[in-house]
Symmetry: C2
Subunit: 238 residues, 2 copies
C-alpha cells in the first residue's frame, strides 16, 4: 500500500479515463473504490479535478461518464462579447436552459453597484449556458427596469443580455470585470450539474453606456475546463 493514496489514485484515475472510450460509463463509485483500494470519499475527492477539467461528467442516478475532448470557448478579455458570439465564431453549438427572469428590488449593495436608489425596481435574468448539451456557465444579469423591463425581452431570447441591448441600438462603451475563483455554492452547483465546492472561474462586472451610467451588473460562473480566457498585458514602464 502506497503511503500517498491520493497521488497514486489520481494517476490511476487519469489512466482509466484516458483508456475509456468517450461516452462510456465508468464503474460505479463503490466498485471503483474497491478496485482502486480506497474509500469512496477519497475516490470522489480525486474525481473532482477531472470534472472541472471537463474530462468526466457525473449524473446522479445514472452514472459517471467519460467526456470526449471538448473544444473550449476561447476569448480575449480586452473585448466584451457574448458567449454566443464567441461560440458562433468558433463554430460551436450553444444553448440555454434554466432561464429565469424576475423583477426584484434593489438592496443596499445593488443600489450602490448600479447607481440607482434603494428599492428601485430591477430586472434579473438568470440562465445556464450549455455547449454540446453540457452546462458550462451560469450567468446572472441585473439591470434597472428602465433599461430592460421583463417585457422587453424577446420571446426567443437565446442567452445574451448584451446582444439584446446591442441589437436594440443601445450605446454601450465598456465593461469593468472583476476576476476571481470560487468554490461552487449549492445554488450554482445544482444548475451547473456539478458538486458543491467544485472550482469555478468567477467574473462580476459592470457594463457602462455612453453616458458612463451602469446599465447592467452581472455575475458569471464558468466551469474552467470549457473556457480559455486570455489577456495581453502591457509591460509597465520600469
Amino acid at each position: 500500500m502506497a503511503n500517498f493514496p491520493f497521488q497514486r489514485l489520481q494517476s490511476d484515475l487519469a489512466e482509466l479515463i484516458k483508456k475509456t472510450p468517450a461516452g462510456q460509463r465508468l464503474p460505479s463509485e463503490p466498485d471503483l473504490a474497491k478496485q482502486l483500494g480506497v474509500s469512496r470519499a477519497t475516490l470522489r475527492e480525486a474525481m473532482r479535478s477531472f470534472e472541472t477539467q471537463g474530462l468526466i461528467r457525473r449524473r446522479q442516478g445514472s452514472g459517471t461518464f467519460v467526456v470526449g475532448k471538448v473544444q473550449a470557448l476561447d476569448s480575449g478579455l480586452e473585448v466584451l462579447e457574448s458567449l454566443e458570439t464567441i461560440a458562433k465564431r468558433m463554430g460551436l453549438e450553444v444553448s440555454i436552459s434554466d432561464l429565469n427572469i424576475e423583477s426584484i428590488v434593489a438592496d443596499e449593495e445593488l443600489s450602490a453597484l448600479l447607481g440607482v436608489p434603494q428599492d428601485a425596481k430591477l430586472t434579473r435574468v438568470r440562465r445556464v449556458i450549455r455547449a454540446e448539451s453540457r452546462p458550462v456557465a451560469y450567468l446572472v444579469d441585473i439591470l434597472p427596469e428602465e433599461i430592460l423591463h421583463i417585457k422587453d425581452l424577446p420571446a426567443d431570447f437565446h442567452g445574451s443580455v448584451l446582444d439584446c441591448l446591442l441589437e436594440r441600438g443601445d450605446l454601450l462603451t465598456s465593461s469593468r470585470a472583476n476576476i476571481s475563483a470560487i468554490g461552487a455554492s449549492a445554488d450554482v452547483a445544482k444548475p451547473l450539474e456539478i458538486q458543491r465546492g467544485d472550482v469555478l472561474l468567477h467574473f462580476h462586472a459592470q457594463l457602462f453606456n455612453a453616458e458612463n451610467k451602469v446599465v447592467d451588473y452581472s455575475f458569471s460562473y464558468f466551469i474552467p475546463g470549457y473556457f480559455h480566457f486570455h489577456v495581453v498585458r502591457r509591460v509597465g514602464n520600469g
Copy 2:
C-alpha cells in the same frame, strides 16, 4: 435537525467567525463539530470557503485562527506589474519565502512555449509571496539560461523576475496571460499552507521582448481572497 446541515452550518460558522476577535483561535475541530452538531468532515468542508476568502487560517498542530480584515492586492490586468510593485503602491508589506532556483532542461511542452530547442537549458525560479506574513501566491518562472542564468539573480532577490529583467534594462513589451481556476494540488497546497483542493486563481503567461521572442514562461497561483484583479473590456462593435 435541519434537513440541510451544510447551509445552516455555513451561516453558523460565518457568525462565529464574525464575532471572534482577529487573531483569536477558534475551538478545535472535534469540539466545534460537536457544538454545531455535525461531523468533522462536514465542518471542514464548510470551513474551506472561509479560508479561500482569507477570513481564517488553519495551522496544523496549533489551530484555526480568525484573520483580521485583509487589504487585497488590487490590480488591473491591462498592465503587467510585479506583485511587489502593486504592493508598494498600496503601502503593503510583501516578502518571499520557499525560494527555489534550479537549472532544468526543456521538455517538449516547455520547448514549444519558450521557442527553444528541446533539451535547452532553462532557469526555473519558484517562490511563495507573503503579505503580512501570510502566504498569498505561489509563482514559478521559467526562462532560457541565455536570458537569465542562475548567477544573474542578485543575492538580495526579493521576489520579482520581471523587476529583475527591467532593472537590468531588458526591453520587454507585453505578456500574454491565460486565466483559469483550479483546485490546489499537493505540490502547491503545501507551500501556500492551504488544503489540497482549495480554490486558486491561476495564470499562465508568456512574456515577450522587443523582438517578439518569449523570454519567460510563468505559472502563478493566487489565493482568491487576497487579490482583486480587474479588466476593462471594450464592447465589441455590434
